[in-house]
Symmetry: C2
């Protein structure tokens, strides 16, 4: 039941006529309290969509009572009128719920530069409000799908409390920059400041480590709302662990549904001097088109891995690097080692392990391969 699994939440997903298919395209998730604590992280892109500009103001006081989301248009770079549309949608939700618009987060996804039809959105909000239900989470999860082939939901159980969630996004590989939208709910009692710490800790290790194609969306939003309806206050460590588990689960669902991808690739860097350097090295490999195309071709091309590592500022000795692919150490001490013919790249899941031999820290970044289908998806359709 996703976002409606924890106590204190209602949700709905309805068709508002934004998707030409007539499928559900507007979702509403409402926190019924008794608490309204929240935390949100947004895209780091400086070119932000109107719903992000609006929601950044909404979340400042740590109180969010509802999240309204639409697919079918990103409402990004649509000018003052686009911002007014976002505001009108928040007001419409607030009017139905008897709350202030400033407590309503708005998320949109779709083509940049395309205005969303305001009347459709407002009528959609009316329909969604009428459809709000304690088991509406699945409908909401379906309403935010764009090029996703499956809806993405999660439930993590705590001791007398739980976390629910939904996500959309086909990796970052889909047309139109594949906005990643995530709504998480919990009936635990968690004050906003603590929720913020937990969310940042969780996203740092999960969504922030997904790097399907290096392209950063203008609309990404991850919101968590705590209703406190269970009456239980978990320890910060327990809650952070559960939230990280929920985010990790959703992140892997995004990775596996990446459009056009043939492989999920985990790039793990060992023995870096810092976690951030481990991430930097792993990300450089994750963004190498030559490496990603080689994996698509089932070619264990470790030369392209080394060449990517060499573009970073991380601490390591270029003459003393080890690289394994699917557990076969094809490169030791920066020279050829085990036979690359022993690396079977046919399975979807691929692991690349890089030993920098410089420190004690490690990190993993997940990416996909570069395929004909990726080029097709992102060139053949206007998006």
């Amino acid at each position: 039941m996703t976002t409606t699994h924890p106590a204190g939440f209602l949700a709905a997903g309805v068709p508002a006529g934004l998707k030409s298919s007539g499928a559900r395209d507007l979702a509403l998730v409402v926190n019924q309290g008794p608490t309204y604590d929240s935390a949100t992280v947004f895209t780091a892109n400086r070119c932000k969509a109107n719903p992000v500009l609006w929601s950044q103001e909404v979340v400042k006081d740590g109180v969010v009572r509802a999240v309204v989301l639409n697919s079918g248009g990103a409402n990004c770079y649509t000018g003052p009128e686009g911002f007014q549309t976002t505001h009108a949608v928040a007001e419409q939700v607030a009017g139905h719920l008897g709350i202030g618009a400033i407590d309503v987060v708005v998320c949109s996804t779709g083509l940049i530069g395309l205005a969303n039809p305001r009347e459709n959105l407002l009528a959609g909000v009316d329909a969604a409000h009428a459809a709000l239900a304690a088991d509406g989470g699945q409908d909401a999860a379906e309403a935010i799908m764009t090029t996703d082939s499956v809806s993405k939901t999660v439930v993590v159980e705590g001791a007398g409390w739980s976390i629910g969630g939904m996500a959309k996004g086909a990796g970052m590989l889909a047309p139109a920059l594949a906005t990643m939208l995530v709504v998480l709910t919990t009936d635990a009692v968690v004050p906003a400041a603590e929720l913020d710490q937990a969310l940042r800790a969780a996203t740092r290790l999960t969504f922030d480590r997904l790097d399907s194609d290096g392209c950063m969306s203008t609309n990404d939003t991850v919101t968590v709302m705590a209703s406190g309806a269970s009456g239980i206050t978990p320890s910060p460590d327990d809650f952070t662990a559960a939230l990280t588990q929920a985010c990790s689960d959703l992140a892997m669902q995004l990775l596996k549904d990446a459009e056009g991808a043939d492989h999920e690739i985990a790039i793990t860097v060992l023995h870096a001097v810092s976690e951030s350097e481990a991430v930097e090295v792993a990300r450089s490999v994750a963004r190498s088109n030559l490496f990603k195309a080689a994996i698509f071709g089932n070619d264990p091309n470790w030369g392209r891995v080394l060449a990517s590592i060499g573009t970073t500022e991380a601490e390591f000795d270029p003459a003393d690097l080890d690289v394994a692919m699917n557990g076969v150490w094809v490169c030791r001490n920066s020279t050829p080692a085990e036979d690359p013919a022993g690396v079977d790249l046919k399975p979807r899941e691929v692991s690349v392990t890089i030993d920098l031999k410089a420190g004690t820290e490690r990190a993993t970044v997940w990416t996909n391969d570069l395929t004909h289908a990726y080029v097709h998806e992102n060139s053949a359709y206007s998006s």
Copy 2:
């Protein structure tokens, strides 16, 4: 006659058995003086090939008397034995010419992690020395081709002196990281320090602004040698202008021969606060797979341009950006402007113009589109 156009140079290109096709694969360019001034720039990749490690030492004193180049193997990450091979090749050249090996630059290109057969290389050097000729420049240019579909050469005439050059590299789009190797010659009298300044000024605006796929080679080398044989000392400005012209000509030849590319894309950023910020913004767009795939699909998707700009640290107002594609201002003040349907992306040459409205500086970066052929070239062949 390329590198042998200026007075004082001999060159040769011979088959040494490194290419399975039996084509020419070893080139030698010799400066006969009377001066031996030189300057060289290398890849910024920290993972450098053995010939780069060797040649970095060679160029330190500003004296280079010969450049020997081979295709068919990058000699990168081949361990101490690979370095010894590079050294042996330099010694072989030096022995024939009666000079020191420390004045011989060595360049290699091909697969990383593959040792070059030393005997073939040494026999190739013997054959190349025997074939050295005052009109050998074209043979040399052909011997350094790998996936290049045409040889790349240039001649720029000064007042009584000239510059010649050859280059290899299929953009950076070819298999095996597409090493870019460039040898430039001049019969002008130019002291090494001045040559170094001129080369850095020229490459900064030309080869450094090519960014076909964001992947940095382990072997890139650009060397210029001045024989002084014309007896003429041009002004530093005149020489730098001519060298920049020669580098620009070769860079555009590389761009146009980029494997798998359907479009050459010039991304120009106007009104940045600094040239480096203009380059940063242009490069971010040049590295967006989503933007590059859109151009392949003839889709004037300016949303993907804005989303890339937003990932940079450059100074600009996200709400006040203008973007033109092939001269059509599809985005003004960060809102839709002229109809994108008026942008004809069928011709190979595409221009994207971004007005940051923040300062007075500008820069252009050149890239290619992301195509099925790119994925094919870089996945279907082990390389």
